[in-house]
Symmetry: C2
Subunit: 341 residues, 2 copies
C-alpha cells in the first residue's frame, strides 16, 4: 500500500541513492535512468516519507502556534492569517488553544519534542515568573521563537502599541467631554492598556487615583459582563467606559442595557481590537483597531528570519505596530460644547 524508495529502486533497477537524487534533483542523472526512475515512481505512487526525511535533514517544516483562545474572533483571524502565511512559505501549522488553562507548558513541551522548526507564542498571561520556566525550556531547546505582545530577552517579538492606542481612545472620550471614564480589562495586554488609560487621564488633569478600574480573569464577553456588573455594584458613577477589548465591551453593554442604561446616551463606550463584529454591533462600536493581518504577517516574517540565520537569538528584533482609532456610534457625540483642546 505504501511504497518505499527501496521498492522504487528495485522497480527501476537502480540504486536507492539514484532514486534519491532524482527526487531531490541534487545531482546529475543520465536521461535514461531519469526516465526509468520517474516511471517507477509513477507506477508505485511513491511519495517520500516526510518523517524519515526529517530524521536526516533535521527540518520538520512545521511551526507550532499557541493562542489564548481559538474561538475568539481576534485569535481565529490571527491564526488564519498565520497559517496561510506559513503555508506560502512551505510550512504547516500546529495550533493549540490554551483557553486560559495551564496547558501552555505541555503544549510547548510537545512542540519541542516534535522538533518543530519554530514557535509563535501568543501568551495569555502576563505572569513573569511562570514565563521564566517556559522561556528557559525554549532557550535550551534552541528552537526559534517569536512572541506576540510579550517581550523576553533574546526573542523577537511583535507588540501592539497598547499604550498609545489606549491613550488615543481615552483622549477621544475626554475630547468629547466625558470626565468620569471607567476602565474594565483582563490579564496580559490589558495591563498596558490600563497604563494608557491612566496616562490620558493625567495628561488632561483628571484624577487617575480615583479612577474606576475593574480587572477580571478573562477577556471574553462573559468577563466584560461580569466586570460591569461589579462596577455597577460598587455604586460609583461614570459617563464613559473604556474596555480591554471589543468582546468585553459587548458584554459590558449587555449588562448596562439590562440595568436600563443606554449606550451612548447614558454611557459612551470604546473597545479595543476592532474585530469584525464591532462594526456590526449596535450601537456600532468605537474601538482601537489592531491590524491583525499585518501583525500575523510580521510574526511569520520575523520567525522565518530567525530560522534562517539561526544566530542563536542574538539579533532579536522587536516590532511595534501602530493602532488606529475607529470612531463609530458607541462613543456618542460631543457631550457639551466645550472641547478640551
Amino acid at each position: 500500500m505504501k511504497s518505499t524508495i527501496k521498492e522504487v529502486a528495485k522497480e527501476a533497477g537502480v540504486s536507492i541513492s539514484t532514486v534519491s537524487r532524482v527526487i531531490n534533483g541534487r545531482d546529475r542523472v543520465s536521461k535514461s535512468t531519469l526516465n526509468k526512475v520517474q516511471q517507477a515512481i509513477e507506477k508505485l505512487h511513491f511519495h517520500p516519507d516526510h518523517v524519515a526525511r526529517t530524521m536526516i535533514n533535521k527540518k520538520t517544516q512545521t511551526i507550532g502556534l499557541i493562542v489564548p483562545q481559538l474561538s475568539n474572533e481576534f485569535w481565529s483571524l490571527m491564526s488564519e492569517v498565520i497559517q496561510d502565511e506559513l503555508w506560502s512559505n512551505g510550512y504547516i501549522t500546529l495550533i493549540c488553544s490554551t483557553d486560559n488553562s495551564d496547558k501552555e507548558n505541555a503544549y510547548l513541551r510537545m512542540y519541542i519534542d516534535r522538533r518543530v522548526d519554530g514557535i509563535i507564542y501568543c501568551a495569555s498571561q502576563e505572569d513573569p515568573t511562570g514565563m521564566q520556566d517556559q522561556m528557559e525550556m525554549l532557550k535550551q531547546s534552541g528552537i526559534p521563537l517569536v512572541t506576540l505582545d510579550k517581550s523576553a530577552p533574546g526573542v523577537s517579538s511583535v507588540v501592539g502599541d497598547h499604550l498609545l492606542g489606549s491613550l488615543n481612545a481615552v483622549e477621544h472620550l475626554i475630547g468629547r467631554g466625558y470626565r468620569q471614564i471607567a476602565y474594565i480589562g483582563g490579564p496580559a495586554v490589558s495591563i498596558e492598556r490600563e497604563f494608557g488609560y491612566r496616562k490620558a487621564l493625567m495628561m488632561h488633569g483628571l484624577n487617575a487615583n480615583e479612577a474606576i478600574i475593574h480587572l477580571v480573569k478573562g477577556q471574553s464577553f462573559a468577563d466584560g459582563y461580569g466586570a460591569l456588573k461589579a462596577v455597577l455594584a460598587s455604586g460609583e458613577s461614570f459617563d464613559a467606559l473604556f474596555c480591554g477589548n471589543d468582546l468585553m465591551a459587548f458584554g459590558a453593554i449587555k449588562a448596562m442595557e439590562e440595568a436600563g442604561m443606554s449606550v451612548p446616551d447614558d454611557v459612551a463606550v470604546v473597545g479595543y481590537d476592532d474585530i469584525f463584529s464591532a462594526s456590526l454591533f449596535k450601537p456600532a462600536l468605537t474601538t482601537v483597531r489592531q491590524p491583525i493581518a499585518d501583525i500575523g504577517k510580521e510574526l511569520v516574517s520575523l520567525l522565518i528570519q530567525s530560522m534562517e540565520q539561526d544566530t542563536d537569538g542574538r539579533s532579536a528584533r522587536k516590532i511595534i505596530v501602530p493602532t488606529e482609532l475607529i470612531v463609530r456610534e458607541s462613543s456618542g457625540a460631543l457631550k457639551n460644547e466645550m472641547s478640551l483642546l
Copy 2:
C-alpha cells in the same frame, strides 16, 4: 544542547535498550539501574525525540484537520473543540484553512506524507467529481478519515440534519403568517438546506417553483450582503428571508437596512448555525442551532474509533445530529391572526 538516548546510556553506564525500557516502562528493570538511568535523564534534560519514535512505531499522534474558513466563528469554535478533544486523547492537531481556494488537495497530500494518524475533513465544496480524486488518494493512503457534512462510501461522517433544520425554520416563518419567503445560500450544505426550504413551502401549499432563491459562491457576511442586493435588484417582493447561515443573514440584514427596509417589521429573517453573535445581533437573530461542541466531540470520537479498530473502513458509521430552532426577535411576531397550524 539536545541529548540523545545514547548519551543517557553512557552517562548511566547502561545500554541503550535499558534506557529505552526505563522510559517506556516496558519491561522489568532493577531498582538500582532504574535510579541510575533516571538520574542520567534528569541530569541531561533528556526528552525522547518524537520523530525518531515515529519511525519505529508508525504513530505520529497527530491529526490533520481541514476547515473551510478558520476565521469564521462557526469553524473557529469547531476547531477549538476538536483540538481540545484531540489533545485530551493524546493527539496534537494540524489545522489548515482552505478559504474556498483549491488548496485542499495540497493540504491532504501534505497530511498523508507526514503520516498523520487520522484526518478530520470538513469539505467546503459539494463538488462530487473533485472529491473523487481526493477520496481515492485518501483511501490509498489507508489513513482513517472522518468527514463533516459530507458522505462518501466507506468513511464515517457526522452530518447535521439540514433538511429538518431548514424545514422547521421555514415552517416557523409560515406559522407566523409569512408567505413570500426568500432563500439565500452558498455552496455545500446550503444545497441541503435549500431542499428543506422547498419542502416546507410545498408542505404548506406554497408554490416552490416561483420561490425566490439566490445562491452565491461563499458563505460570508459579504456573500449574504451581495446575495440580498441581487435579490433586491431582481425586483421580486418578499416578506421573509431564510439564510444559509447566520453570517449571511447579518450581511443580508445590512443590505436591507441600507435599502430602508426594517427587520423584522418589513422582512422577517431566520439564519442557520446559531453562532455566538446571533444572540448579540440586533435584532437578535432567530436561527437554527447546530450543537457545535457535540459535533466536534462526535467527530473526534468517531475518528478515534476508526483508528483503533483499523478495520479498513469497513464499519463506517454515519451520525446525524439534530438541530434546534432558536426563536428570537428577527422573525417578528405573528404577521396576521391566522396561524397555519
